[in-house]
């Protein structure tokens, strides 16, 4: 599995001394030893292929490789730095949407209440007109509340945006 002279042969091939620049006994040994014969066959072929691959390589300059690495590192660092901002914006957006739905729910309930009042008024005969006028007054008083809720619906997301974006 291993020969004591194997390393000598590997070094001779790696240093370009094989077969003529090395000890002649080494070449003779390689022709007789199974392990070393395999080593020579494989190492000579791979060494030659390695040299030709190195020769054909069209490498980018060190400066270009460094520059590309710098650009990429910066892009990654920017992405990492932006991550907390994106998270904060996501939370703000989700809160705004939640708030909007909440307000819409409240507004919807008010509208339904007014609808019920309207139906009640329609069911009344002429003798109860006084009560109807009272209901109309009540509806008039509730109108600012509805407008206020609508305004909140519009302003809340903007307010959250300005608070978070200018920290």
């Amino acid at each position: 599995m291993e020969c004591l002279r194997e390393q000598e042969i590997v070094e001779a091939i790696a240093n370009g001394r094989w077969p003529h620049g090395c000890d002649p006994s080494l070449e003779m040994h390689a022709s007789e030893c199974d392990v070393c014969r395999d080593v020579v066959t494989v190492a000579v072929a791979l060494r030659e292929d390695d040299l030709s691959a190195r020769h054909e390589a069209r490498l980018p300059s060190a400066g270009l490789v460094w520059w590309r690495a710098t650009i990429r590192a910066r892009a990654e660092a920017t992405r990492v730095a932006e991550r907390p901002l994106t998270v904060a914006q996501g939370i703000a957006g989700a809160s705004a949407v939640g708030l909007a739905f909440g307000l819409a729910g409240v507004a919807w309930q008010s509208v339904q209440r007014f609808q019920r009042v309207g139906e009640f008024i329609a069911g009344l005969d002429a003798s109860t007109l006084q009560f109807a006028s009272e209901s109309a007054v009540m509806l008039q008083r509730a109108l600012p509340l509805v407008i206020g809720l609508g305004a909140c619906l519009l302003i809340a997301p903007l307010a959250i945006y300005f608070v978070l974006s200018d920290d």
Binding site: E2, V42, R47, D50, L59, A69, A77, A81
Partner: protein
């Protein structure tokens, strides 16, 4: 996209500074190291993937990962071994990709074989030997190819091969012996 606030720009500026500092060596040291190692690394990537263009991409990726690594290296030999370990991992990742996305070593050999007979007749002996080697390497297991290249083309020691391939040092001797015997037989009898 919305405009950035001043505080965001300051924060991103700091991140850019951190990116430069995140490299494991300065530019001058990198240039020296690159000049010494790029050709053998490219040769390794090129022969292990069978695709010169892919080797170009992987070379850039290898050095990028090396620069971003946080490990401290005692000397140039350690740095070089670490570089080959990264390259080996990238080659392995490439092999794990779906077949349509990658070039098989045997495919690149088929392309060479498909050239007209007249042009094959004109190529020199060295090219024929190279073709035989590529064909024989294509019949080995990927790990055997890596091991043989590192041992005999790159001159790596058993410990260095074990480090690069993530194997135990004790198993390298036997694995290398078997791989060498297989390749030697394939090279002696190309038709086998």
């Amino acid at each position: 996209m919305r405009d950035m606030t001043f505080s965001e720009i300051e924060r991103l500026g700091a991140a850019v500074g951190e990116a430069d500092e995140a490299f494991s060596m300065d530019e001058d040291s990198f240039r020296v190291f690159y000049e010494r190692t790029a050709r053998p690394v490219w040769a390794y990537l090129s022969r292990m993937t069978g695709d010169a263009r892919l080797a170009d991409d992987l070379l850039q990726e290898t050095y990028y990962r090396f620069l971003r690594s946080s490990g401290r290296h005692e000397n140039d030999t350690h740095r070089r071994n670490y570089l080959f370990r990264i390259a080996t991992n990238l080659v392995h990742d490439q092999r794990r990709k779906p077949r349509a996305d990658r070039v098989e070593l045997s495919d690149s050999i088929e392309t060479l074989d498909a050239r007209p007979a007249t042009s094959v007749g004109n190529v020199d002996e060295r090219t024929v030997r190279r073709l035989d080697l590529a064909r024989a390497m294509g019949r080995l297991k990927p790990r055997e190819r890596d091991m043989l290249w590192l041992a005999y083309a790159n001159g790596s020691s058993h410990q260095e091969i074990a480090d690069a391939l993530g194997l135990k040092r004790a198993s390298i001797k036997l694995l290398l012996f078997r791989a060498r015997r297989r390749l030697a037989n394939l090279l002696r009898e190309p038709g086998a």
